[in-house]
């Protein structure tokens, strides 16, 4: 058995809305996987379930053979799609907290990265700019030698230069034996680094294939294929405009 992540018939309903609808997914160690889909396709829901922050309505997810719990949280490094550090804490406090709780946390690496951004230990989180706050979260998450990195929309809402910084930070810091799952809809920015792509549409996996396989089979880039598959019918102004 070489499965790091195994989802079986995973469903999650929010009232009448099916956020996940029978997801079967297996991820192996040492891969960089893009979880790709338009907004509302279920990417965040899937990542939250893997983290144990949300419970599935039915089905099961196993991380290294375990259901989400303290054992899996010790090997998952998670970057949510929002700020989640308490405002009152200082940069140094957050480094201490990660060092306290995660055995795989590399304090020296985290401190070096903070220095590169000129973040002082004594700075409180609330005094950091939005961009620096996001970068700091990413730095702490990537300072762990985790077996699974779950990065939820790490490049959403940032300028192209910041995207480059974020992607560089991810690629130069993840543990080589670890698997990185990056959820995004900005495929062009991540395509070059992906080993596999998972397309999610309305809570269902519509494609899970290696990036090389996609290019060979379709003759298109992942981004081009994504645009083709998820293209929304344009509204041309109705019949009166068509005349």
């Amino acid at each position: 058995m070489n499965e790091l992540v195994k989802c079986e018939a995973l469903c999650r309903d929010f009232g009448p809305v099916k956020a996940l609808d029978g997801v079967d997914l297996t991820l192996e160690p040492g891969r960089i996987v893009g979880l790709l889909g338009p907004n509302g396709s279920g990417k965040t829901t899937l990542i939250k379930i893997m983290n144990g922050l949300l419970q599935p309505s039915s089905g099961e997810v196993l991380i290294a053979g375990h259901r989400p719990g303290p054992a899996t949280k010790g090997i998952i490094s998670y970057l949510p799609d929002r700020g989640y550090f308490p405002d009152w804490m200082k940069v140094g406090d957050m480094i201490d907290l990660f060092a306290d709780f995660y055995e795989d946390f590399d304090r020296v690496k985290a401190e070096d990265m903070c220095r590169s951004l000129e973040l002082a230990d004594a700075q409180t989180i609330k005094t950091l700019s939005k961009g620096n706050r996001e970068k700091m979260q990413l730095m702490l998450v990537m300072s762990r030698a985790a077996r699974l990195y779950l990065l939820d929309e790490p490049i959403a809402g940032v300028d192209p230069a910041a995207r480059d910084y974020i992607m560089h930070t991810i690629l130069t810091n993840y543990s080589e034996n670890g698997t990185v799952l990056i959820s995004t809809h900005l495929i062009e920015d991540v395509e070059q680094v992906l080993d596999e792509a998972v397309f999610l549409q309305q809570g269902r996996i519509v494609l899970h294939e290696s990036v090389d396989g996609i290019r060979e089979r379709t003759g298109k880039s992942v981004d081009a294929l994504f645009r083709e598959m998820f293209r929304t019918q344009m509204w041309n102004g109705g019949e009166s405009n068509a005349r």
Partner: protein, 275 residues
């Protein structure tokens, strides 16, 4: 992991309250000085009397109330925002169990209540010392002698210990009651805060009915037990009867505590939904 969680929660708590505790102690000193000035001057009229004799006491009372309210708000907020708000993304991805999270919040809430109570007692002591240190120290020195003269019935020490334990357990259970209500509110899709308040009130009503039924059921037995102690051993026996009553209350509170703790744990384990 529990120790690490407590360390983190305690830092968050002390950061907010140390200034208030310090202010309370400082107001204690101000009150001692103002009482001394007013009594020594013998002038009990006019604006000075209000400014020096009454205002400090009002401020002290208001601050005590503020600390009590803030402690209650803090206990609710730390659980609600700390576990079920954005910070929950951090806390629930730490390799700790849900039981450890609840235990950490409960222990820190108890520490907050104990320190606040201790600072309040210390403030009264400060008022007395600043007002008249020699007489206060003389009075405090005599307390052991006074206590020795009182003919405490046998078992009084045990009774005091039971009362202290029951008070601590009741404090913990009342906080667990809040956590249980917040967890129930978390089950709702919308207006979770309002549902939590409703759940709190609902649990209170249910407990009142239960307590009434239990009291009704047990009153005849307690009466017999009380009569037995009184008839058998006179005044000393009353201590035994009260002690037995406290024991029953302690057992009741412990059962409630276990129900609230595991009720909260089950909801957070099985129905956690951080949106």
């Amino acid at each position: 992991m529990l120790g690490k969680l407590i360390k983190y929660d305690l830092r968050s708590c002390l950061r907010k309250f140390w200034v208030l505790w310090l202010a309370l102690a400082a107001l204690g000193v101000v009150n001692g000085l103002s009482i001394r000035y007013v009594l020594e001057s013998g002038d009990f009229r006019g604006i000075w009397m209000f400014l020096l004799g009454i205002l400090p006491i009002i401020l002290l009372s208001v601050l005590v109330m503020i600390i009590a309210i803030m402690a209650l708000v803090y206990i609710c907020e730390r659980f609600y925002k700390g576990l079920l708000g954005d910070e929950g993304y951090l806390m629930f991805t730490l390799p700790a169990t849900t039981a450890e999270h609840i235990a950490s919040k409960s222990i820190v809430a108890l520490i907050l209540e104990l320190i606040s109570g201790l600072v309040a007692v210390l403030t009264v002591f400060l008022v007395m010392v600043v007002y008249d240190a020699p007489r206060t120290l003389e009075f405090l020195g005599k307390i052991p002698a006074y206590l020795r003269e009182i003919p405490f019935p046998r078992g009084t020490g045990w009774l005091v210990a039971e009362t202290v334990i029951l008070s601590l357990v009741m404090a913990v259970v009342s906080n667990l009651h809040i956590y249980q209500a917040i967890a129930i509110g978390h089950l709702a899709k919308k207006h979770r805060g309002a549902w939590a308040v409703l759940a709190y009130v609902g649990i209170n009503i249910a407990l009142s009915i239960l307590t009434f039924m239990l009291a009704d059921l047990g009153v005849s037995r307690f009466d017999r037990m009380f009569s037995f102690f009184f008839d058998d051993t006179g005044f000393h026996g009353a201590v035994g009867a009260i002690s037995a009553g406290l024991g029953v209350s302690l057992l009741y509170q412990l059962i409630l505590g276990v129900v609230f703790f595991f009720g909260t744990k089950v909801i957070l384990d099985r129905r956690l939904n951080l949106e």
